[in-house]
């Protein structure tokens, strides 16, 4: 044996070195942990410390919980709606001949980042519809508006079909000119075909043409027909007690090629929460309390062009008796002023970006709890397995490394008024049906920074 080197001993020396290194790392981290434990970053450092100790002890094979991110990392990056004004076309462009009272609607929202979000839709919509983020709107009290337009009177989450454009302050004039011109043409010569082509060329030639850009987002809604195949497959109701079967609400096409599918589920009382896997007994705030009311939860699943899930978002709007349900489900606010608020709209939103296999499993569990086995070619990997319902895991993951927000809104739609369609269409001067303006303002906004609710300054009015 040349040199007298024993390979086995060499391996043992290496093992000893690894053990020594591990102990050294743990010792060093203990010291560092003690030093920084009194700093504002103590929680995250503590989680980081625990994570690496776990990794060393289990040689990287254990189920170690990674540290949550910094408070700043939890701050929502998507803009929120701070004001909204909607004007219907049949009032704005009164010289047009309109054939229905539900004229195409252009809605302009000013977002917290200074951008404008312009939604163009053909549906008239009833009641006051306000955007609450994530492509969703809240319809308040059906046709009841004004002073009674509170969540107590009934509010439902919905999406609004149509095209959406985003622009900045410099671009809003051109966009509106293009939209209005486009709609003048739509109403007079149709939105395509040879006459429209000629009209477009003519307006360009005389220098008054404005190109309408491709929309940034396109929304479509559905109802019974959209859900017919699910009903045909199941034939019977299979929902858990207190939990409605998840139904498709609609879809959003995004310019980057991704698609967002919206599903809606109704949670009824404590039985519904337990159907979702939420143990309210574990929440001191609701110990012994019997939670009542109904809560509509809309789950938005975004998949990229290849069908990979990239984000799952849950949104709920509540007021009155359903506030307790929402608070239990989303983690709630420790702020008594928020918890006790009984009027106005209160909207919670939990967003989990899917970054690794753990997120995928968490999202799959959350969707399975709502009865979602597939979305086209995407098949829930837990389908048919005896996997535990993991809704609480979803909200834990969101609190750990996602985005969790809550907002309150004051709706003021008392400006809705009707224009009596006394003029016959034969007169062809174009004003018929209702002319509506909606408005709403955010009255408060908070986000979860990883350890507590903090004010979301940009989204407060």
């Amino acid at each position: 044996m040349l040199g007298g080197h024993d390979p086995a001993r060499r391996r043992e020396r290496g093992a000893a070195t690894l053990e020594t290194t591990g102990v050294t790392i743990i010792a060093a981290m203990l010291v560092v942990g003690l030093i920084v434990s009194a700093t504002p970053q103590a929680r995250i450092i503590g989680e980081t410390f625990s994570y690496y100790v776990c990794q060393v002890v289990t040689l990287g094979q254990g189920g170690c919980t990674p540290p949550s991110s910094s408070p700043e990392a939890h701050k929502p990056t998507d803009p929120c709606v701070v004001t909204q004004d909607g004007v219907e076309r049949n009032a704005k462009v009164s010289v047009l001949v309109v054939t229905a009272s539900d004229g195409r609607r252009i809605e302009i929202q000013r977002l917290s980042n200074g951008e404008y979000r312009v939604t163009v839709t053909d549906t008239g919509g009833a009641g006051a519809e306000v955007g609450v983020g994530g492509g969703l709107t809240v319809t308040v009290a059906d046709t009841t508006v004004g002073g009674s337009a509170t969540a107590n009177a009934g509010a439902s989450l919905d999406i609004k079909d149509g095209d959406v454009y985003y622009t900045d302050k410099d671009g809003i004039d051109d966009l509106m000119n293009a939209l209005l011109q486009d709609q003048v043409k739509d109403a007079t010569v149709g939105d395509s075909g040879p006459i429209r082509w000629v009209t477009d060329q003519a307006t360009d030639l005389v220098g008054i043409g404005h190109d309408l850009p491709d929309p940034d987002e396109t929304y479509a809604e559905g109802g019974v027909s959209l859900n017919a195949s699910a009903q045909a497959t199941a034939l019977t109701e299979s929902a858990n007690a207190g939990l409605s079967e998840s139904a498709l609400l609609g879809v959003r096409h995004n310019r980057n090629g991704s698609t967002t599918v919206y599903l809606t589920t109704t949670v009824s009382g404590e039985a519904g929460l337990q159907g979702l896997g939420i143990d309210t007994e574990g929440n001191p705030q609701f110990q012994g309390a019997k939670l009542e009311g109904k809560l509509q939860v809309v789950t938005a699943v975004t998949l990229d062009a290849e069908g990979n899930m990239t984000q799952v978002q849950a949104t709920a709007s509540a007021g009155g008796t359903s506030t307790g349900l929402a608070t239990a489900l989303f983690g709630g606010s420790g702020d008594a002023a928020w918890t006790n608020q009984q009027s106005g709209l209160h909207v919670w939103q939990a967003t989990l970006p899917i970054k690794d296999s753990a997120d995928q499993t968490t999202a799959s569990q959350f969707l399975l709890a709502q009865g979602v086995g597939s979305l086209g070619a995407w098949t829930n990997p837990l389908l048919g397995t005896a996997a535990a319902i993991g809704t609480q895991n979803f909200f834990d993951a969101v609190r750990n490394h996602g985005t969790l927000t809550q907002q309150t809104y004051d709706t003021n739609s008392s400006t809705v008024f009707g224009v009596d369609a006394a003029l016959e269409l034969g007169v062809e001067v174009g004003v018929s049906g209702n002319v509506k303006t909606d408005s709403m303002t955010t009255t408060g906004a908070q986000y979860w920074d990883g350890s507590q609710w903090v004010d979301w300054e940009e989204c407060a009015a």
Partner: protein, 211 residues
Amino acid sequence: MIRRLAAVSGALTLALALTACGGDGGDEPKTADDPYLPTGSPSVTVTMTSPPADYSTVSGEGFSISAPGEFQQRRLTSADGEPMLVLEKPSSIEAIPQRVVVIRDVDPQQSAAEQSFALESVKAAGGPAGDAERSQVDVPGDAGPAFLITWKEERPAEGASTVQVTYWQLMEQVGKDLIINVVAFAPTSEFETSEVSKILRTFVADDSQVA
């Protein structure tokens, strides 16, 4: 300015000429209120058909459809309280029969064009493996438009196993207040040899009440 006016005048003349010879405009781009109409070409063109001689015709509320005798008939009520017709026979997989279901969508909030757009989008969202397609289909009578959406998806079979199922859904706008859906499905492995797609193609809406 004069050149511009001349150009406009010429363009309008061209427009009138095109209008005069436009006829039915079968190949013309879709017009007004139809941002959700199909724009691509389907891989397979599907046409509605008369029922074969060995099929029996079944009537429902506002429609008729024909099927071979081995398909059992059930009349149920859908989740929204409307009558629902089910025609089915066992397949090789117990959990997934060969089935055709007719479902009424009364007072729909969205048109068949928009709902079929949404359905195609949802089924395509999971990636190309779903083979989601949508096409506009000519249907008998004055009703319509009608859209056919086809796709494949995994459904639970036994235990932890899943089976791929092929779906066809016909969505016909019978009138402003009514869409009738015909959903036909069977395990993909036997869809081609099953009768479900042929049954779907015999569907005829009663458009006598169409305004």
